[in-house]
């Protein structure tokens, strides 16, 4: 009962606990491998990237609900999810750039395809905000934003394929068809880290959504008064 009434604080608490656990695991449990200490950023960089994908996917799903079911409120949810995705995408670019600096000695490398993909996605989803804010609020804006969000999830695999075709890559391959290429303790740390990032994104999403809904409600009340 308490959980149902306090979903957001519960989610935020879960995110905080998981984040603390993942940081403890990263620094005290996961072994230092041949790359040395700088490999630790892997446990931030990759979960953040996965979380960004999850946000974009969630935004597109909500966009599909706008178009398909005409679900009220789905437009706002789609927008908030994409907003979160852009924030996590920017963090991916920053952590990836730091990692590249320590690993290869350069801040940016075109041969790391995840990083290039995130640059493309960052540009694409930044244009989403330009589109959204150049339109009047209303059903047309909901439609256009939803269609654009759907284009985004189609663009992700296509761009990845394009970047793969375009570049010879030196990105360390952590996952391939033989499963994760890391020790069990590393993989466990990675999973906790990923769960922490997803919980954090979920909590932020819910908080942001609450605020936006409050804004909307306030605006409606003001219009009623005026």
């Amino acid at each position: 009962m308490w959980l149902r009434n306090n979903q957001v604080p519960a989610l935020a608490g879960l995110a905080a606990v998981l984040l603390c656990a993942s940081i403890a695991l990263i620094f005290f449990y996961a072994p230092v491998d041949e790359d040395g200490l700088n490999q630790k950023i892997f446990y931030f960089h990759v979960p953040i990237a996965f979380t960004a994908y999850a946000c974009f996917g969630w935004g597109a799903w909500k966009g599909l609900l706008v178009l398909w079911k005409r679900k009220p409120g789905a437009d706002l949810e789609s927008y908030v999810a994409i907003h979160q995705g852009v924030i996590f995408g920017a963090l991916t670019l920053i952590t990836g750039s730091l990692w590249a600096k320590f690993r290869w000695g350069v801040w940016w490398t075109w041969s790391e395809r995840q990083l290039v993909l995130f640059l493309v996605l960052f540009l694409f989803y930044s244009a989403y905000f330009m589109l959204r804010y150049s339109l009047e609020a209303g059903p047309q804006r909901e439609n256009l934003c939803a269609v654009y969000a759907l284009f985004g999830v189609v663009l992700i695999p296509i761009s990845l394929l394009a970047i793969r075709l375009a570049e010879n890559y030196i990105h360390p391959v952590a996952f391939n068809k033989h499963g994760p290429q890391m020790a069990g303790s590393q993989f466990f740390t990675f999973l906790v880290s990923l769960a922490a990032m997803l919980a954090l994104a979920g909590a932020l999403y819910r908080v942001e959504l609450l605020g936006k809904r409050l804004d909307q409600r306030l605006r409606e009340l003001r219009e009623l008064l005026a």
Binding site: L67, S134, V147, Y148, L165
Partner: protein
Amino acid sequence: MSGYFNDVAVLARKDLKLELRARSTVPAMLLFVVAALVVFHFALPAESSELAAKGMLWVAIVFTALLGLTRAFVAEREQRLIDGLLLAPCDRSAIWLAKSLSVLGFLVVVELVALPAFALFFSGIDGATVAGVALADLGICAVGTVLAAMAVAGRARELLLPLLFLPLAIPIVVGGVGASVTGEPARYLGFLALYDAVFAIISWASFEYVVTE
């Protein structure tokens, strides 16, 4: 089904007729692409390779297409033509298909001049490049028409389209440049065909939502 293609043909003919009478888009695109090629000549230092010029050709094609796409829905919005089209008893995706075909027509006309001009100014053009350009044109027109319809709905209009279009054009540039500069163009042409198919389907399915409320 023949009714559908009949609608498409009528709508596309309307665009071609408008262009023949007003001559507002194609001459501008032609001038732009030739001017761009001249600019690229001066942008490339003397010892730069032929491959760099091939890359520039793709920049010219994407930006010229962008110029044409910016104009694609201007009459529809400014003269409220879109209201008439939406009232017409035809499927909304027919409007997309017709507009894509007419933009494709303009782009092909421009490239019929641009590719020989490129061959004249820079270097010869092989069959793989021509095939790449043809496949890229399909993708550019399919995606670009939807985005152009989105962009004219907003306040920013001309400003918005390049921002929406360029990230989506990056895979086209990768495929096109790969087809024209590498020894094995087949996989790049295959990639362009995949891009065309995927985005044509999603554009065809989603256009109705872009123009209606």
